[in-house]
Symmetry: C2
Subunit: 351 residues, 2 copies
């Protein structure tokens, strides 16, 4: 493998010394970029884009052509695993993801396929290999997966949801069925992330987009526990180098202390938590990633810079900070403003 | 005025001794009740229902006919104030609220009318008077308003929003314009709640539905500060009795300590915070209202009862707890399950 030219991101995740605070943006390959929209329209639908390694690589690299980002992230869908387990994922124009089969009973869980990484999910590993090759050591490549709880919400609701009606009915009334599903998912996610690591991912992030809709007790029992199990099962070293693990629970600010005890190297923060307070709460256990409100990108470059400075100051001295937005960049963000954001992080943090 | 027969709710808010934990449900007059849907269809659209005092009274009392609730809450819309300020609220079938005029500039804020409680908003006070009369001292009547920040999100976005794009652009780039708007709203909300109190409301709740989408700093500056100002301007006594004030910020669990310093009598909690932890954090300063996940009502009555017991135990001994859901009851909740919930609170908390 080619030598990594910029390892600032990996070093910061391991709290090793760095010359500046590294930065990337969740959903950095996305609709706010005209070149992304162009590739996407060539690909046809979203799933075809994810399943075509060359096009997935093309969109992964697009933000790196524009901005001096310190990491690339695999372009893929969060629902590849439920699809590979046999649910039949599809997208309807103007609507969110849908499944042909919906999971509601123990028998539905039983009938799920345990996916093979070299078969149903090989297209993802193929994309990782192509992207890693094309990156040519420029910056590290992040692999990712949805958390078991987050994946389960889509699998049980049959798509996106606002009220989490069916998954929570299952959680409160048939917790054993949900645990069975989450256990199956934890195994699949572990295999999936390990396969991404072996294919070339140099760090991995678990996206727990919907953990924040749970009560504290349910969060620990139905989301965090399974992320902990995955973390324990991951290859933490590959190609002679540590592979850091990042956990991100949106709206998880109340639970950072317990999240820091999972064995993950870093926690992602949304913007509702002050990063200085978060650092005091987690101590030396983990690095922190975040946490500017993506809506700051709607403000002027001057204001963006001010906000970046404020967050850097709040984090304070020392390594262990990866700058990011507190959630994915919005589709209406101005690409110039995203550039002002990345530059501000580098300039204001340079030591 | 008729003597209040059941003042358990008011006593618990003031941390006075009670024989059992009082309970009501946010959105208790709502679509989950067939009798509500029937009245609503007679009224025509939602706004006509709010503007007709007899029908608003009818739906307010409906849940009290079914369940032994300890409080009634005025049936009204959260957007009465922006409408009265001249924005022209309307509802389109199957869609959320919309405004004919949208607020984006200092001139737009300037052009808003300061509403008169005896004129543009008299229909609300009229509903309060009719409901209070019809309640005949059975239980106290709660008045309410949206918080300035929450109202501003609708006023600036032009309706409901998922990304808070325009209001946050204003917040980050033109904070002075937003402060001007929030100041106007704080004055109107103060007048509005005081008029409700004089018309007969015996407690008031400020709903900060969208405060939780802010960073900690922005929450204090753009939401909490204005709720504090309102709280300071409210009539805290009427008819020889204290009028308690409840603040509820959805997803505000990280900020309970600062919320407890506003001078409010009680804080509403959503279900993501453990009520025992919350009590330890706020100490003796405020009572707590909440906090069962409304999705528990999708589970069996046995499970609902178990969850009620768990929350009562977590709160612990002593007064200062008003039981509620952590958010409005969902439209698909089974009315029988809501009844099981109310009964469980009364039975399990009886001292």
């Amino acid at each position: 493998m080619t030598k990594l030219k910029n390892d600032t991101f990996l070093r910061a995740l391991l709290k090793e010394s760095v010359d500046y605070t590294p930065v990337w943006m969740m959903r950095q390959a996305g609709r706010y970029l005209p070149e992304y929209r162009e590739t996407r329209s060539r690909a046809g639908d979203f799933l075809s884009l994810c399943k075509n390694a060359e096009l997935a690589c093309e969109v992964t690299l697009q933000p790196l052509e524009r901005y001096p980002l310190d990491a690339a992230i695999l372009f893929s869908d969060i629902l590849t695993i439920p699809d590979a387990m046999g649910q039949g994922l599809y997208f309807e124009v103007g609507e969110g993801p849908k499944f042909r089969k919906i999971i509601r009973t123990a028998a539905d869980v039983e009938a799920l396929i345990q996916p093979n990484m070299d078969d149903e999910l090989d297209y993802v590993m193929n994309a990782v290999r192509v992207i890693r090759h094309e990156l040519n050591g420029r910056v590290p490549l992040i692999g990712f997966s949805g958390s078991p709880w987050t994946l389960a919400t889509y699998m049980v609701e049959g798509g996106s949801t606002k009220d989490f009606r069916h998954i929570k009915a299952m959680m409160f009334d048939q917790p054993e069925v949900l645990h069975q599903l989450l256990g199956r998912l934890a195994d699949s996610v572990t295999d999936y992330l390990n396969a991404q690591i072996l294919a070339g991912a140099q760090a991995v992030q678990i996206f727990d987009t919907w953990g924040g809709v749970l009560g504290s007790r349910e969060y620990r029992e139905f989301s965090l526990k399974y992320m902990e199990r995955i973390t324990a099962g991951l290859l933490r070293e590959n190609e002679g180098r540590k592979v850091p693990v990042i956990l991100f629970t949106k709206n998880g600010g109340q639970w950072l202390e317990t999240m820091a005890d999972t064995g993950a190297d870093a926690l992602g923060l949304d913007w509702t938590t002050d990063i200085g307070d978060a650092r005091r709460r987690v101590g030396n256990r983990v690095a922190l990633q975040g946490n500017m409100d993506p809506c700051v990108l709607y403000a002027s470059p001057r204001r963006i810079r001010e906000e970046v400075g404020r967050i850097l100051d709040a984090y304070g001295e020392g390594s262990g900070h990866v700058f990011n937005l507190g959630h994915g960049i919005h589709q209406f963000a101005d690409p110039t403003h995203a550039g002002a954001f990345v530059d501000a992080v580098h300039e204001l943090s340079a030591r």
